[in-house]
């Protein structure tokens, strides 16, 4: 888990150094596993997750959040490296709902924002298993990368 975080921080710091437009524009990554997410019981069938899906799951792992709350938390996790737009966010949520990774909670106002009612989302058991499996996969990838790049070639 910690190693996975390390990787995302690495990624986000790289983003921050890139020029203005490319760093601010996060083109959504369309992958087969994301678009065609099917309902499944085996978490490994959904791997690898796209970064938006992975970070949305992470955002929901400690508490249930509404859409903008997820967006803020994802930005915080990645050091502003991954900013989700409304289209990306709800597109992902729709597919994650269909796949059973997240569930809709109740609708209530957020006291920190205004008095408008917002739909809250929470993570399912399957979602938890999937995000753990993905974190392990990433940890393995980081370990392999560290072993290869330990010589300081890059």
């Amino acid at each position: 888990m910690l190693r996975a975080r390390g990787l995302t921080e690495e990624l986000s710091s790289r983003h921050l150094r890139t020029p203005l437009l490319t760093s601010s524009v996060q083109w959504p990554i369309i992958s087969v596993t994301d678009v065609f997410m099917a309902k499944t019981q085996s978490p490994h069938e959904l791997l690898p997750l796209t970064p938006p899906v992975f970070h949305i799951l992470l955002a929901l792992s400690d508490e249930e959040r509404h859409g903008y709350g997820i967006m803020q938390d994802v930005a915080r996790q990645t050091g502003n490296g991954l900013q989700l737009g409304p289209g990306t966010l709800y597109g992902c949520l729709k597919r994650m709902l269909a796949a059973g990774l997240v569930a809709e909670s109740d609708e209530r106002p957020d006291p920190a924002l205004d008095d408008e009612r917002r739909r809250y989302y929470c993570m399912t058991t399957l979602g938890k298993r999937v995000v753990r499996a993905e974190a392990q996969r990433l940890a393995g990838a980081v370990m392999a990368a560290n072993a290869k790049l330990a010589g300081g070639i890059v």
């Binding site: 203005l20 437009l21 760093s23 601010s24 524009v25 996060q26 083109w27 959504p28 369309i30 678009v35 509404h66 859409g67 903008y68 967006m71 900013q83 989700l84 737009g85 409304p86 289209g87 990306t88 966010l89 709800y90 597109g91 949520l93 729709k94 924002l113 408008e116 917002r118 739909r119």
Partner: protein, 328 residues
């Protein structure tokens, strides 16, 4: 509370319009939430000082909108294509039936010829499709799109029998409005020209002055409309075809009840022109007028032997008569 409420409000309104680029289901389900998120993001960035962050957010939101509309529409189309399989059976049959009903009532219609007045061209027992489009007035716009033309001399027309519009007749056009028509010894003289009609068939069993030297005077076989023709449209021993009507004769000239007996065909009674014979079956007139049990049994028994196979897909064609002058 927010630094630029007016500007943010404008952005939100623009975004609510942009949401229409998403598929309908997606917009209805998440549109409100997406607007909330959009507004929250705008408010947050408005609190941070400087122009640069605002520009970055605007570009980011625009890029997000652009890419996710494409993506959501693509998945909507894809999943719609996949969902089609279970409902296709019902839909396809409904469409087929609708098209069939439209086509068979508006474009073409099937008729059977029960009498031999056109024998030689169209035979008793010919089942044919009639093109209802060509002679139907298509209106001002359709005239340039549809294959519309007026019936010409020598054309075969299908029309409602003027004395009883429940019956449909098929004959050949001999006279157009303004034509002078008379018959002399079974030969048509049109506008002073004696016609040589290759399509006409002369199998006279007995001489009949009314029939062979038309028009003389109405007799017992003349219908009310025929009498009207004799009264108002015969001048100097010739029929003059009035406007918006046709003068028609059967190709089986001596065994045909046609314009000689019941007058002109109003243009509006013309149904169409024969397209082709799809089935020709040798059966007596009475059987062809209505489907009786006897006829069904007869067809079941003799379908292969009595069907005139050589007439299948035969096209009854228009044919112009050759004109020879100086017969007046």
């Amino acid at each position: 509370m927010t630094p630029q409420p007016g500007l943010i409000g404008t952005f939100c309104r623009i975004y609510s319009v942009l949401l229409y680029a998403y598929p309908r289901d997606f917009r209805l389900q998440y549109g409100t939430a997406m607007q909330q998120v959009f507004r929250d993001r705008c408010r947050d960035v408005a609190r941070t000082p400087g122009r640069l962050p605002m520009l970055r957010v605007a570009v980011h939101l625009a890029a997000d909108w652009l890419s996710t509309t494409v993506r959501e529409n693509a998945t909507a189309v894809w999943s719609a294509g996949r969902k089609q399989t279970p409902r296709s059976f019902v839909t396809e049959w409904a469409v087929t039936i609708a098209v069939y009903l439209f086509a068979t009532t508006t474009l073409v219609q099937a008729y059977v010829v029960p009498t031999g007045s056109m024998e030689g061209t169209v035979r008793v027992g010919d089942h044919m499709l009639v093109d209802r489009v060509t002679y139907a007035d298509p209106g001002i716009g359709g005239r340039y799109i549809l294959p519309y033309h007026q019936p010409a001399r020598g054309d075969i027309v299908v029309f409602l029998y003027p004395e009883d519009i429940r019956q449909t007749y098929v004959k050949r056009v001999i006279g157009l409005p303004g034509d002078h028509i008379r018959l002399d010894k079974q030969q048509v003289i049109r506008n002073g020209c004696r016609l040589t009609e290759a399509y006409a068939q002369h199998i006279a069993t007995y001489p009949d002055a009314y029939r062979d030297n038309f028009p003389l005077a109405p007799d017992a076989s003349t219908t009310p409309r025929g009498r009207d023709m004799f009264e108002h449209h015969v001048f100097n021993g010739e029929v003059i075809v009035p406007p918006d009507t046709l003068f028609v004769l059967g190709d089986n000239r001596e065994n045909s009840e046609d314009s000689r007996y019941w007058g002109f065909v109003p243009r509006s009674y013309v149904v169409g022109k024969p397209l082709f014979v799809y089935w020709s079956y040798d059966a007596p007139t009475a059987d062809l007028q209505e489907w009786t049990l006897n006829h069904v049994l007869d067809v079941a028994q003799h379908f292969f032997t009595r069907t005139r196979w050589e007439r299948t897909l035969l096209v009854p064609r228009s044919q112009a008569a050759q004109e020879a002058g100086g017969a007046r």
